[in-house]
């Protein structure tokens, strides 16, 4: 088992240089933002130095795909729904009292450009 000290070093030592995704004008920014994305996804999936989702995807794809969900062009309605309702790694799933089925439909079509 691996044990870490949460936040200890994050708080005190600058270990994050270069890890963050620089904020930049993205294609997605031009569209009207989806309210569900803003309310529920943006806290981890925007650009920024402490964005868990973005950092996780950056680590996962290592440049082969955009780390920002709104820049992805390979997402499908079905895959968005699976991630939202089932989660992935430390991303937990979201309940229907949080994101209703209708909201999920809108979110999925917002993110899935295909």
């Amino acid at each position: 088992m691996q044990t870490r000290v949460v936040a200890a070093l994050a708080a005190m030592v600058a270990t994050f240089g270069g890890v963050g995704v620089p904020a930049q004008q993205t294609a997605a920014a031009a569209r009207a933002p989806d309210p569900t994305f803003e309310k529920w996804c943006s806290h981890c999936h925007r650009s920024g130095i402490y964005m868990a989702g973005t950092l996780g995807l950056q680590r996962k794809y290592n440049g082969s795909k955009p780390a920002l969900l709104e820049e992805r062009d390979d997402l499908t309605v079905a895959s968005v729904k699976v991630f939202v309702r089932h989660g992935s790694n430390s991303m937990p799933p979201f309940r229907k009292t949080e994101i209703s089925d209708a909201e999920l439909d809108a979110l999925a079509s917002y993110l899935a450009k295909q």
């Binding site: 088992m1 994050a10 030592v13 529920w40 868990a52 089932h86 790694n89």
Partner: protein, 528 residues
């Protein structure tokens, strides 16, 4: 789906039909797909039959519906597990302690009922998250700030009830509550404190009311369903600034913590602070090599000095008028100056009014936004780096003295070695609560069943080892609630037996959150 104990599928189906008439068809969840959403996303029982799985979930929209649901649960003997937003990740998420319990999801009750700028308080419902509340304060131009824990999607009520914490003057969320509305296990509605008096305008202005002060018994408990709660808030400050205090030598810890104790107990420092060792927790390769080689302190201190790292450090925040903050910081430096070679650095200074949405993350201060009451999920970025499947916290709390901290470090270092865990160089201590440090051990969850089993066994052993030295946890996940409560054994577990007496009197059918904090209803005691 598992059914509640002693309820057959026919009776369960009948109960669900009744339930649907109370809250509406779409707000009773019994399909596997829907119920899965109420399992603990970070369960330490991943893939094992022991996992706590609810029988369903119900999401009422009003207090009256909660009362009806509770009455129905009594009639049909369906245990209920109330969640506010159900985001208590690392401490059990939304899942109940007892499989077959029905989750009572209060997320739909999400109104901010009052924000009072002059007296700086708010009254909210359980479904209001920190994100929601932050947005509400901004959208309505309120001149008050909230205090938030590191993950911002939790509920003000849920977090406070689990004794959760943040960073500002009001970081002890439960202590900052004033007035509660509770649906009792009988289905009756109670208001505590001054709320017990009709028309009293001080429900959120005076905690105690008259007679026994009862609202604190609804935290970490299963004595009622909290449907409203008042919170005291921080008025918008003139200035927030942070400073880092560091000492060079390991042996400076005693003087350092003594001085912190005086300053905190006097109210001259009133923010959360975290005891860290920039040396022992360093990611610098040279220092890590020295640590691996068990280099003596003198060598570590020499390396630290060369890289300008303190052996022990902390970041403090000041809230208030600029001149007052400056006077406080002068005074703190003066008190600390008795420690040879102590050194200081300054964090960013925020001056208000400013648009809090424009606050940027700071690379060397993960809690910069949190320190201003701006909610985020930044804390999860730590887990994102190692691809963990989630985590669970072992969080013993110890006195904030050098003697206890050193002892704890040694005890847990030894325990780690004995349990075959990776070497423990150091563990940070959070002083959220005055006079104490919470040691936060993060146990990653994996999808390796044997690994999770070892982790659980280790967790239980660490709980015991802590208790042998007089330390216990401030909060824990359902999987370990019995273990933690078991250690609180003074006079043959008088405290647990007291809770059980109260539980039986208030909830004779044992329908509310069986097993929460190790408190079981009579018919399940010793059996679950």
């Amino acid at each position: 789906m598992p059914l509640p104990p002693d309820v057959d599928s026919k009776r369960f189906a009948a109960a669900m039909r009744e339930l649907r008439t109370i809250v509406g068809e779409q707000w009773v969840f019994t399909s596997e797909e829907d119920v899965d959403l109420y399992r603990d996303a970070y369960t330490p029982f991943f893939g094992e039959p022991e996992e706590y799985i609810p029988c369903g979930a119900v999401a009422p929209a009003s207090v009256e519906q909660v009362q009806e649901v509770v009455r129905l649960a009594n009639r049909h003997h369906i245990p209920l597990w109330p969640i506010s937003t159900g985001r208590n990740l690392g401490y059990g998420g939304a899942a109940p302690r007892l499989s077959g319990t029905m989750v009572l999801d209060l997320k739909r009750m999400n109104r901010v009922l009052e924000v009072n700028d002059t007296l700086a308080y708010a009254l909210v419902e359980p479904g209001v998250s920190y994100f929601d509340f932050y947005r509400h304060l901004r959208d309505n131009n309120h001149k008050v700030w909230m205090d938030c824990p590191d993950p911002g999607w939790g509920s003000l009520i849920g977090n406070a009830l689990d004794h959760g914490l943040g960073h500002t003057v009001y970081r002890d969320h439960f202590d900052s509550h004033c007035g509660m509305e509770v649906v009792l296990p009988s289905g009756e509605l109670m208001r505590t404190g001054m709320g017990a008096m009709p028309n009293n305008p001080l429900w959120q202005g005076f905690k105690y009311g008259f007679g026994p002060h009862v609202s604190p018994i609804f935290g970490q408990s299963n004595f009622g369903v909290v449907t409203k709660m008042g919170f005291w808030l921080l008025p918008e400050q003139d200035e927030v600034r942070s400073h880092i205090i560091s000492v060079r030598r390991n042996t400076d810890l005693e003087a350092f913590l003594d001085t912190m104790s005086y300053l905190v107990n006097s109210g001259l420092i009133d923010s959360s602070w975290q005891l860290v060792s920039a040396i022992r927790g360093s990611s610098d390769s040279e220092i890590r090599a020295a640590l691996a080689a068990h280099a003596p302190d003198a060598e570590l201190e020499r390396l630290g000095a060369a890289k300008n790292l303190g052996y022990w450090s902390t970041r403090i925040r000041f809230y208030g008028p600029s001149a007052v903050n400056a006077a406080r910081w002068d005074y703190v430096r003066k008190r600390m100056a008795t420690i040879p070679d102590v050194f200081f650095s300054d964090g960013k200074v925020y001056t208000f009014p400013m648009d809090t949405d424009s606050v940027q993350d700071e690379p060397d201060d993960l809690f910069a936004k949190g320190g201003l009451g701006i909610p985020s999920l930044a804390i999860f970025s730590l887990g994102a780096r190692n691809g963990s499947q989630g985590h669970i916290f072992f969080s013993p709390i110890i006195p904030a003295t050098a003697r206890e901290y050193r002892k704890a470090l040694e005890v847990f270092r030894q325990a780690y070695a004995d349990l075959g865990l990776p070497p423990l160089n150091f563990v940070g201590g959070w002083s959220w609560y005055r006079r104490t440090l919470v040691l936060l051990f993060n146990m990653p969850i994996t999808h390796d069943i044997a690994g999770n089993q070892r982790m659980r066994a280790n967790y239980k052993r660490l709980v015991q080892i802590g208790a042998e030295h007089g330390w216990s946890e401030y909060r824990t996940a359902p999987a370990f609630m019995d273990d933690v409560m078991e250690q609180l054994s003074f006079n043959n577990h008088a405290l647990r037996r007291f809770h059980e007496t109260v539980k039986d009197a208030l909830d004779p059918n044992g329908i509310l959150a069986p097993g929460k904090s190790g408190i079981w209803p009579k018919h399940l005691r010793g059996k679950a």
